[in-house]
């Protein structure tokens, strides 16, 4: 399998504006908080004291909250077709949708309460304005994490592999050339695959199957060096090979496990790689023995911070990474949403 081919599974045009992903938890949270902040702000502006403001806020809420819930559900449901529209058409569609929903909610409340909750035209204009405000906010947010900036951050974050790994691998290959030239060849092939990924486009998602192939290539190189000291258990039966994830999220964790859990130990070290799908989440767990390192080798936390930041750039608040130390083991767990490519690369281009 060629790692490089399948890396192009989806390619986002990062230079254009995008509607926010209305299925993203972070986006939804921002919409909920944003609208309530707007309503509260409006209430404060027209009131003379806090009591009055609270009263006004609560009165507005009878209209605003049902509208908000309806809008969030509608946007969640329609996020795919909306995302296909050109940016400005998408914005217009979102505003139109919100205004239409405002009309419906107004009519519904009129029917329920027997009296209009507020002036209809005012309601329509205000809800349209609120939707526009939030869209503008998301655009600014996207600009702040501007494509160029995010791209630079991603590239900078990705290109960190320990130089020691390169030297160790080259030394291992050198020691093989005379005795086992075929194995030396294979090791150089593995090494080139690893470095091809390292130097690849950091903005693209990769398929889990490819990241796993990369783990195996990395493991083969380390195995050569460490021999029977490195024992890896692979639990990949439940791993969804089509899941998408940022490149090089798991490999650095396995590298950490070898570097901190196997290399400093005099005996054999057991490393566990466990990946599974649980509903709409993908779980990955990597474990290694805890070895006391008198002259503790740094770098572990940096790798974790790096991966955490990249997960955030790709998944916002929907991914998490946690470490724990059960018994004499060190465990890193990643949880991320199960995403698959929705469109082929041809369509997306």
């Amino acid at each position: 399998m060629n790692v490089n081919d399948s890396m192009t599974s989806i390619r986002q045009d990062v230079s254009a504006d995008f509607l926010p992903d209305f299925r993203n938890l972070g986006v939804l949270a921002r919409v909920l908080i944003g609208v309530n902040a707007l309503v509260l702000g409006a209430a404060l502006l027209v009131s003379s004291d806090l009591t009055q403001a609270t009263e006004r806020f609560l009165r507005s809420a009878t209209l605003a909250e049902p509208l908000l819930v309806a809008a969030v559900i509608a946007l969640f449901a329609l996020s795919v077709p909306l995302a296909r529209l050109p940016y400005w058409a998408g914005c217009a569609a979102v505003i139109a949708l919100v205004v239409a929903l405002a009309g419906l909610v107004h009519a519904g409340l009129l029917w329920l309460l027997g009296e209009p909750p507020s002036d209809l035209r005012r309601t329509l204009v205000l809800s349209g304005l609120a939707a526009a405000c939030l869209l503008a906010y998301f655009r600014l947010l996207a600009r702040a994490y501007s494509p160029a900036l995010a791209e630079a951050r991603l590239q900078a974050l990705q290109a960190r592999i320990r130089p020691h790994f390169l030297f160790n691998s080259l030394n291992a290959v050198l020691s093989l050339i005379r005795k086992d030239p075929r194995r030396a060849e294979r090791t150089l092939e593995d090494l080139s695959d690893l470095f091809r990924t390292l130097m690849s486009d950091a903005r693209q998602f990769v398929r889990l199957a490819d990241e796993i192939a990369l783990l195996e290539r990395y493991a083969a190189i380390e195995q050569l060096r460490l021999g029977e000291r490195l024992r890896i258990t692979w639990e990949l039966d439940g791993a969804p090979s089509d899941a998408l994830l940022p490149p090089l999220v798991l490999q650095p964790l396995l590298e950490n496990a070898v570097y901190h859990g196997v290399e400093p130990g005099t005996g054999a070290g057991d490393v566990l790689v466990h990946i599974e799908r649980r509903g709409d989440r993908v779980l990955a767990r990597i474990e290694n023995p805890r070895v006391e390192e008198p002259n503790h080798r740094a770098g572990n936390r940096m790798a974790l911070a790096n991966i955490r930041e990249r997960l955030a750039l790709f998944f916002d608040a929907e991914a998490r990474i946690e470490t724990s130390t059960p018994a004499d083991r060190y465990r890193v767990e990643i949880e991320m949403p199960y995403r698959v490519a929705r469109r082929s690369p041809r369509e997306a281009a």
């Binding site: 130089p163 080259l170 291992a172 093989l176 290399e263 002259n295």
Partner: protein, 251 residues
Amino acid sequence: MTLRIFIADDETPARERMKELLGDIAADVPTAVVGEARDGLATLDAVPGSGAQVLLLDIQMPGMGGLEVARHLMALEQPPTIIFVTAHDRHAVEAFELNALDYLLKPVRAERLAAALKKAAGGAAPNREQLARAAASAREYLSIAERNRIVLVPIRDIVFLRAEQKYVTLRTREREHLLEEALVSLEKEFAERFVRIHRNCLVARAAIRGFERSLDGEEASWLVELDGIEERLPVSRRQWPIVRELVNDKS
């Protein structure tokens, strides 16, 4: 004359390659490999009896790193000449340069290896000061040479170190050893672990159980009570304020 070589490296392929290279340069520098080891402690075990003249010593090994291994080997009457080997440790390389220690970079080249061995054949083992300065951290053990053997005492087992005329006595709960090191440099290296209670004595902070007032003699003075050892050690008047601080911290 054939040079007797010992190879210490935790990675089997690395040791194999070193042997290949030694074979390549045999016409120029005839050598015989008298031993191999794959971690620091095993190296310390095997080198003294091996008759090795030159030790090719990887600095990053499990158990105990090469630099500490070298420091313990210097306790031997006739320590081997040491050539350090490292792949990527920039700090170690700087330290080697600064302290005039011989080293080779991995991947090792045949001609460099030959040059280093020729130099080693005529040279002496590095001295303790050179190695101590090059080491980035304190040792995990202290070592005592016994005939052709190196006995290691883990630092955490040491209860106190006391300077006698020529030696330093090292006391654990079970035993006593004689060290050929200066108390001053031990105090500096292990400042976090030991406190000076007297001009001639360092005590492990963790081993101090309490203090006892002693009234013999014309002046009152203080004695340190120790964990697991009957003997009481006198605190000098000059050190008493520092030691008392420690007690206050503890309680």
